[in-house]
Point group: C2
Chain length 333, copies 2
């Protein structure tokens, strides 16, 4: 194993977020399931957007939010994801590079537009996402550069990659390269409905060692093991993966290994504004702590801190330096 | 004079905002004049954007922000401005229509991209704008529909319209139609440097009755009359225009007529985040009060309220219902 050029390399669907604060009635009238991510086609996107209020736009995408968070802590970061070479794709590429993340995936010259997620934020702060994958559908194994993948201590993948047709092959290629280079592979389960679509495949990835670390929230964990009992699900997770991190909103997180579990509290907040990116930024802090050998408890605290920052404003990218924030809290960065 | 279909129709440069929080050093290293609006070409835009951090995007444009504010108070509102039929132009058109503003100006099929302003927000909350006019350069008298203009109680124009080559002709056409229909014409002076570029023309518009109402901030007023003495400038303003409204940041505003002046205090705020849109939203509240015959003092208070809302978050469009906000303060809406 050579020394790593990157702390973390993330692979995900590159998605531009179109965010609007709305009321519960909007979700109901469009048949949306609150808190979930639904895949939509171009016609559905047009139909939802037509009814949405004035929006704010910013770059998003689950793994991309995470990797931007890692760079925000001072981590050496790289991203693989597919945009089109269109106006929105150029905004997207700017933002991730401006966050000091290496991003070299070639933009698609043709095909569908850069992907967008239409995100409804309700007064309780919950976000409901409707994602048009667009150019993200064209991420393929050819976008996985072996040298770059092997240069990262951890490769971080999102479960959402199971949705586009060729991205899972890119995922598997990246995992193999990483393991051949003695690196670690992490996966976030992304969304309870995503878990429902690919439950068996995700369990196989865990059980056959394709991934070494799983991030899940409670709902995703319950979906994975089709149980409503948390302890049952957690016990199963500990059998299936060397390291599992389960986020539980204001109850904090549980870090689970074969040897035991560690509970880490959530970080207090003043006001919940928008949960978009909460899980993504938790993963950012945890992975950064992990790769810098801060220990599970400190890693969990870094995750909680980043999640707390991102849920107190609109949008899934941090608005302050996470490194400064962590230092102000006496956390190791 | 027939009854009006719209309370206010605004005409301006349709500009998409790309906002980033940055430090003073960024302004210095790019030779930017803090607090001003500088016109930039495509090459300069690329050069500035390349160096900017991760951004947030939302629709902007001075008169457009004002008209969205008027709609937010419950006013009947229309907008004339030129975007291109590109991805950003479609976001722009969505946002203004979603704000319940009538917007029928045809998007340009070719030519430059939809205009963008690269806005740097410093820690003191001040904004410094660098605007690439793009498709806004193509606003022309052909975009001024006489029937629509004549249907608005007040036509509101921005001084920035003097920058694109044909927009001033659109401006003059609109003013004539409005006056022929016995409507009022209002102008904001927009920016001290803009005033410096077109001082004589703006004074002519005021003195020959092309406009009936002027909005200016202190800096713009001083630039207009090339004096550093506020009272001298104010006295001159009262000679040159039937109604002048001068905003003075935390000192509130002065409503000036030939008969006298009325001072209205600013609205207290918790934290200044971003001054982008402060003057635009002040004008929204004032014009709404004026058209609803609320009296100058209440109009000034509505302006102060809307300005206070918009400077407490990033971006130049209100994030709450201005109607609800005004009602909660006991103001007439």
């Amino acid at each position: 194993m050579t020394s790593a050029k990157y702390d973390v390399l993330a692979i995900g669907n590159a998605i531009f977020d179109v965010l609007v604060q709305t009321d519960e009635g909007f979700l109901a009238s469009h048949g949306m399931t609150k808190g979930s991510m639904a895949l939509i086609d171009e016609a559905q996107a047009a139909s939802i957007y037509k009814d949405m209020g004035p929006a704010t736009e910013m770059s998003g995408g689950s793994a991309a939010n995470t990797i931007v968070g890692i760079a925000g802590f001072g981590g050496r970061a790289a991203y693989v994801g597919k945009v089109k070479d269109d106006q929105i794709g150029r905004l997207y590429a700017h933002d991730i590079r401006a966050a000091k993340v290496a991003f070299e995936t070639p933009a698609a010259a043709g095909g569908p537009a850069t992907g967008c997620s239409y995100i409804l934020v309700t007064p309780d702060g919950e976000r409901t996402m409707n994602t048009y994958l667009g150019a993200a559908q064209d991420l393929s194994p050819a976008d996985i550069d072996p040298e770059t993948i092997a240069a990262a201590s951890i490769v971080y993948l999102e479960g959402y990659l199971w949705d586009p047709k060729d991205a899972k092959d890119a995922f598997l290629k990246a995992s193999k390269i990483a393991h051949d280079a003695k690196r670690q592979v992490a996966l976030t389960l992304s969304d309870a409905f995503c878990v429902d679509r690919y439950r068996d495949e995700f369990l196989t990835l865990m059980r056959n060692g394709t991934v070494d670390l799983i991030f899940a929230n409670e709902t995703e964990l319950h979906s994975l093991y089709q149980t409503s009992d948390f302890d049952t699900a957690l016990a199963q997770l500990r059998k299936d993966i060397p390291l599992g991190v389960v986020t539980r909103s204001e109850k904090g997180c549980i870090v689970a290994t074969k040897d035991g579990t560690t509970a880490v509290p959530a970080c207090p907040i003043q006001k919940l504004v928008d949960t978009t990116g909460a899980g993504d930024l938790f993963a950012a802090g945890f992975l950064f702590g992990l790769v810098r050998n801060a220990g599970y408890e400190n890693a969990g605290r870094l995750g909680a801190l980043a999640a707390a920052e991102v849920i107190q404003h609109i949008g899934a990218r941090p608005q302050v330096s996470l490194k400064d924030l962590a230092q102000s809290q006496g956390l190791p960065v």
